[in-house]
Amino acid sequence: MADTTLTRTGVLSTADGRPLKSALARAQSRAKWRAFLLVAPLLLFVLVTFVAPIGQMLFRSVHHDGFSRNMPHLSAWFAANPRGTEPGEAAFAALADDLKAARQNRTAGEIGTRINYDLSGTRSLFTATARSADKLAPPYREALLAENRQWGDPRLWEAMRGASGALTPNFYLSALDLQRSPDGGIERAPPENRVYLMLFERTFLLSGIIMVMTLVLGYPVAHLLAVLPLRTSNLLMILVLLPFWTSLLVRTTSWIVLLQSQGVVNNVLVASGVLTEETRLQMIYNQAGTIIAMTHILLPFMILPLYSVMRPIPPSYVRAARSLGASSWCAFRRIYFPQTIPGIAAGALLVFILAVGYYITPALVGGASGQLISNLIAFHMSKSNWSLAAAIAAILLAAVLVLYWLYDRLIGIDNMKLG
């Protein structure tokens, strides 16, 4: 530090007469900037690859301008006339104008796709009518109804009204097994089309089961690794890590080879007389397959945090408890177990959140009953209905955040130890 002098006014200053406080602030701000520049690449990376896509996804889940952007006249009519107005000639004229423009700009498919999300079977109505839109002449109401009677359907007009603004909650309604009634209210989807709520429930249930299974299987293994001499435990650790480093697909398909009804496990059981040819177990392409394969795949995520917490626990604690007369169960329950809770918390949270978002494994081994909600997200992505996929994903994200919050309230996030 430079020489400092105490001036007559009582302010500390550096040798060149500047007050020490500002000189220090300047020197520190430079250091802060340098530190920030070191962090900046990561910050930028997180912004670009994480925050922005998630923001975009959330935006997509409530925003679809495929109709409103390409149907300006009709959207304006909806804005000017409140719900309940009978669509008259003015509305049909606006519709005809927009359909003619749609033909020119090749956007009829996009428009129809948007309406088809809310009212099935209408996409071809738009594409077919747009194809012959040039021939439409006033009075447009009669002309369009002559083209196709469906143009008079009140449910169609309700769907178009809903789509006339780019912002819409309809994708969230679909993702919660709800739909719009013809008068604009909200009602439950018909029973044969309800699928999402049930799958959300199943996803959380199966994730919970998998979490418990990994804990039950992983806890003793982590303990063994933690108490063995380092040389032996390192060797065993490789056995834990080797599958961890193997491709997810390879591990999943290995389970198919093992568990299928003509697979290794069934063949061994039949050969040893436990089962007969007729009673071969169906252990894959159902929920059991999903649980078994995902438990195995997620096991390292439980073992590693547990191990990192157990390793530093001195064995003398349990020995001390035993010497003071505790039974082995009591020593475990009151001395050892409480010290491993941070590891259990970390592992459980990690496994649960990973399991909630898994989709390759359930897709390959889950059959019909082992499908999770993420399989439907993937399905809608592949069908180009990104808004619905985004809405389901957003609900999943919200549910996980709520669980995280609950977890923080009940156990405390400070209690978590990842390594």
Partner: protein, 358 residues
């Protein structure tokens, strides 16, 4: 094999310093991509010096939307299903292909008259007709094999697990045909709520015995593993397993549902002119016929039919194995594109709900 071909194609591109130009073609992988590499990619490179890089995707239509919307298109030509081509075209995600660039038949017939009806649209040129059929393991039925689609739904006469694709399309049509609906009326029945109920009810009769697959490579594997005794499958995959790998599989052509598949060019393709040249070249009469010698998908050009010779093994005539051969078309259904573009969302939603319910 496939990787080797991609590698050799890529190396061929490197070995020709003059051929600075190259295009990327996105295909489905497996035997299908092999047929395209042999019949289209290699001859095209030999003729023009433009290297062709072959890439694979589970469904090439899926990345197109993502690439075009992100304005980062790396694919020049993609092989997609007809329905996806129409959908992507309607959404303005594809380049237009002027039918005038297509080569006429050897006898001078204009290209548009030579292709099957609907095989050329403004964004799409068909390369083949593929079919979804009933396939079975011949060793599993010593007392008489299935002969018609309805047998797939007959658990008493033909017990055992069955494989089906996880999705509404084709399954609903087949359920109705097996329930006695003539092929010509399938879509008008399926357009009614009663028809949909009827199809799901028919599927429900065998639901407990179905193993659902997602990728086209799975059904031959399921059959080979003995996991299923019969499966709904793509005819090309079964042919390759049966004739190519000598597996004891056979096909029931009754009730086949056939569809077109072909090239599209994503909007903003980096090498548009070369991509158009490639499309024009590969959909010529001879390359299409040649491709049918590598995989049993029928050529969509009338003039290609007689040119299709023997399979690469040199002994198997291809004609009886193609969906487009007359004998195989006696009770066949052409997949209805408009129907599925309209009803895809609703019927798949119902299918998923039906599937998930126990």
């Amino acid at each position: 094999m496939k990787r080797l071909l991609i590698l050799s194609t890529a190396l061929a591109g490197l070995a020709l310093p003059a051929a600075a130009q190259q295009i990327t073609v996105l295909g489905w992988g497996g035997a299908y991509t092999v047929s395209q590499v042999e019949a289209y990619h290699k001859p095209f490179t030999a003729k023009t010096g433009i290297a062709v890089i072959s890439a694979d995707s589970d469904n090439p239509a899926t990345p197109i939307k993502a690439q075009v919307e992100a304005k980062n298109v790396s694919v020049d030509v993609a092989s997609v299903e007809y329905a996806d081509a129409v959908r992507l075209c309607d959404e303005g995600l594809l380049e237009l292909i002027d039918p005038a660039i297509l080569t006429p038949a050897p006898d001078g017939t204009a290209a548009l008259d030579d292709f099957l009806p609907g095989a050329v649209t403004e964004c799409f040129v068909a390369t083949d007709v593929y079919s979804t059929v009933l396939a079975y393991d011949t060793t599993k039925f010593p007392n008489g094999a299935p002969t018609k689609l309805a047998d797939f739904f007959d658990l008493e006469k033909f017990p055992g697990k069955r494989g089906m694709r996880k999705g509404a399309k084709v399954n609903l049509e087949m359920a109705l045909m097996a329930d006695g609906v003539p092929a010509a009326e399938v879509y008008s029945v399926l357009a009614t709520p009663e028809g949909v109920d009827r199809a799901f009810a028919k599927l429900g009769t065998i639901k407990s015995q179905i193993i659902w697959w997602e990728a086209g490579a799975q059904p031959p594997q399921l059959l080979a593993d003995g996991e299923v005794t019969m499966s709904i499958a793509y005819n090309g995959r079964i042919f390759n397993a049966a004739v190519g790998d000598g597996k004891p599989f056979d096909i029931v052509w009754d009730g086949q549902v056939y569809e077109l598949e072909g090239w599209v060019i994503p909007k903003g393709a980096p090498n548009l002119q070369a991509a158009l040249d490639f499309v024009a070249f590969s959909t010529g009469t001879e390359p299409l016929a040649k491709a049918a010698e590598w995989i049993s998908y029928g050529p969509p050009r009338v003039s290609s039919g007689p040119l299709v010779g023997k399979f690469k093994d040199g002994t198997t005539d291809m004609a009886p194995h193609l969906p487009t051969t007359a004998a195989n078309l006696t009770n066949a259904l052409s997949s209805d594109l408009e129907f599925w573009v309209d009803r895809d969302g609703e019927l798949n939603e119902r299918f998923n709900a039906w599937l998930a319910a126990n």
